[in-house]
């Protein structure tokens, strides 16, 4: 389905995850973060950049991998994106929701 955000039209699924990463840009990221009640700090951007790189490299994401990434540890990840961090962070990053249980 289509959604208008930050003055642009993007495609999202029923859970609000973007379905075409090419449509994503920083202002959309900011707006998606605001929808999730998060204001993005430089630390947030570092984590989002890491998630997008992993997505582009087709690496499946999990909490365990993020803990071992060297970019952010699990505790900080939960502080940066409270409540469902992996879901929230991937949604803001414009990439699909990870299908991981761990």
């Amino acid at each position: 389905m289509e959604k208008v955000i930050a003055g642009k039209t993007i495609h999202v699924n029923e859970e609000g995850f973007m379905t075409d990463f090419k449509e994503w840009d920083n202002t959309i990221g900011e707006a998606l973060a605001a929808e999730n009640e998060i204001s993005l700090s430089p630390r947030h951007w570092e984590v989002l950049g890491y998630l997008q790189t992993e997505f582009k490299n087709e690496v499946p994401l999990s909490i365990r991998k993020i803990g071992k990434s060297g970019v952010v540890d699990i505790k900080e990840f939960y502080q940066l994106f409270p409540k469902a961090p992996l879901k929230t962070a991937t949604k803001i990053a414009g990439i699909p929701k990870p299908a991981s249980c761990i």
Partner: protein, 160 residues
Amino acid sequence: MSENKGEIKKMMIILSKATLENVYAAFVLANGARMEGIDSEIFFTFFGLEAVHKKKNANLHIATVGNPAMHIPTMVGGLPGMEALATTMMKKEMAKIDMPEVPEFLEILSDSGVRMWACKLAMDMFHYKKEDLFEGVEEVITVGDFYKKSEGEGVHMLFI
């Protein structure tokens, strides 16, 4: 279920066994809750305490006897070394799907905000001390304390 449209706000998981498959079930459910933004807590009781016992939790086994889904005849399952063999095989499969070993999994749970409690009665029975346990276990508590912590809307309790 009409309350909050049945929304789950907190999972209270009671782990009473230390066979690997049960420990993993409890850990995956607790971690999965946190990943969805649901609070979760684990109460370790009876043999479940071994999962947080620092000297024991790296060497938990799966059960090869009394477990029909293993498809090993009970007599064979009881032979020396069978549990260790089956456990090694299962651990190999778990590594393939990026499943952490028990001590590392506990760290992940703790960092993810899963609160952990040890059962006083079982601690006394096994003569365990708080220092024997993983640091993420906050306190040794009674069943009554556990029920008190479980109060509130949208709290679900699960016995493993």
